[in-house]
């Protein structure tokens, strides 16, 4: 019955009135990537995952120095210990994930057909904790960022492959993320895209604005301005605050959908995380 319903909805999607006018992730992806390839012809496609370092030779040299012994190494080590520690019920994080949680972050965020919602890696980690009677972790930094750093380190170099199943709810989540990305907000009246599409590669003071393409591939990141490792959600909250908009809740659908859209735009690029940024 449900299947029939989905089939019917899927058919409805094929109707140009809605599907063709806007929500067409595959076409969006192509346009998005080619926009950045044209804007930065000197940057090799896979180098976009290195953000500002792909744009500026001097920054890249400093980054290479720092990456000889990356500051997020403590996070990875701590995250590995946390990841491998048993819950009081004897289960492990590994029990909650495909392939025991190793080498899988390129597939996140995922659409959950049961709830119709997007599950980011942070949410999946907290879902796992809930399943085993543990309180959720702060989604932005600390142990969450460490566990994510470890899991991502096992996926380094794997090709990002975020799937949008043929389910109207998945498309709606994607579209909501897209809308969030392009909507201006805050007193400064900036959208994510203002800085990371139109302004990408430009200098804001001494910083180079990272292009949106490749952006999520390096998360979690150790930002020297933070002095610690943080998740994508932490960066969302920071960006919102920078344009003087009250941030959404860390576990909000708004942020999950935004992460879904952004990660999907990176399909085909390699995971390059955890990363280091100024």
């Amino acid at each position: 019955m449900r299947r029939l319903l989905y089939a019917a909805l899927g058919l409805a999607l094929a109707v140009p009135a809605w599907a063709a006018t806007r929500t067409n992730p595959a076409a969006d992806l192509k346009a998005f990537q080619s926009y950045f390839h044209k804007k930065f012809p000197q940057v090799a496609p896979n180098d976009f995952v290195n953000g500002p370092y792909a744009m500026d030779a001097s920054m890249r040299a400093q980054w290479n120095d720092i990456m000889q012994f990356p500051p997020f190494q403590f996070s990875i080590d701590n995250g590995k210990a946390l990841f491998n520690a048993a819950f009081p019920d004897g289960h492990h994080y590994a029990d909650c994930f495909a392939n025991k949680g190793i080498g899988i972050t390129q597939n996140y965020p995922q659409f959950d057909a049961k709830t119709g919602k997007i599950v980011t890696l942070e949410l999946a980690i907290n879902h796992c904790r809930a399943e085993h009677g543990q309180p959720p972790l702060d989604m932005s930094a600390g142990p969450m960022a460490d566990i994510e750093a470890y899991m991502t380190s096992t996926s380094d170099g794997k090709i990002i492959n975020v799937k949008i199943p043929n389910d109207p709810r998945a498309l709606a989540d994607y579209a909501a993320g897209e809308q969030y990305f392009y909507s201006r907000r805050g007193q400064l009246n900036f959208s994510c895209a203002s800085c990371h599409v139109q302004g990408a590669g430009d200098h804001l003071r001494s910083d180079v604005l990272a292009p949106a393409l490749g952006m999520t591939a390096s998360f979690p990141i150790y930002r020297s301005t933070w002095g610690s490792t943080g998740t994508l959600v932490r960066r969302f909250i920071e960006c919102n605050s920078q344009v003087r908009a009250v941030p959404s809740k860390p576990d909000s659908d708004a942020y999950s959908n935004l992460a879904y859209f952004l990660a999907y735009m990176n399909n085909g690029l390699p995971v390059a995380g955890p990363g280091e940024r100024p």
Partner: protein, 103 residues
């Protein structure tokens, strides 16, 4: 402060290159926290690297060394399997040390 030291030492047969990262806030004493109160200075003062019991580098640091300090240097000698020890003490008297082997 157990587990504050990460160190990699590798020998090419004639010389050993050491890279280390120490987990430490290195608070300068000039930064204010969210509530506007000064965070008191808290930084590593002395770090010592020793190869098989002999000091190969002593570092004296002030609060201007970055958080989670990084050090890289190399010394003549040292072969795979030799012991390399890193130890530090900060201005509050905290200390830690780690012994590893050269790879």
């Amino acid at each position: 402060m157990a587990g504050s030291i990460l160190v990699r030492a590798s020998s090419d047969g004639t010389a050993t290159t050491v890279q280390s990262l120490i987990h430490h806030p290195m608070d300068s004493g000039f930064i204010k926290d969210a509530s506007g109160a000064l965070i008191p200075a808290h930084y590593i003062e002395v770090v010592q690297f020793a190869h098989a019991g002999t000091v190969v580098l002593t570092a004296f640091w002030g609060p201007a060394v970055s958080k989670d300090p990084f050090t890289k240097f190399s010394f003549q000698g040292g072969k795979s399997g030799d012991a390399l020890t890193v130890s530090w003490v900060d201005n509050l008297g905290n200390k830690d040390s780690l012994s590893t082997t050269i790879s």
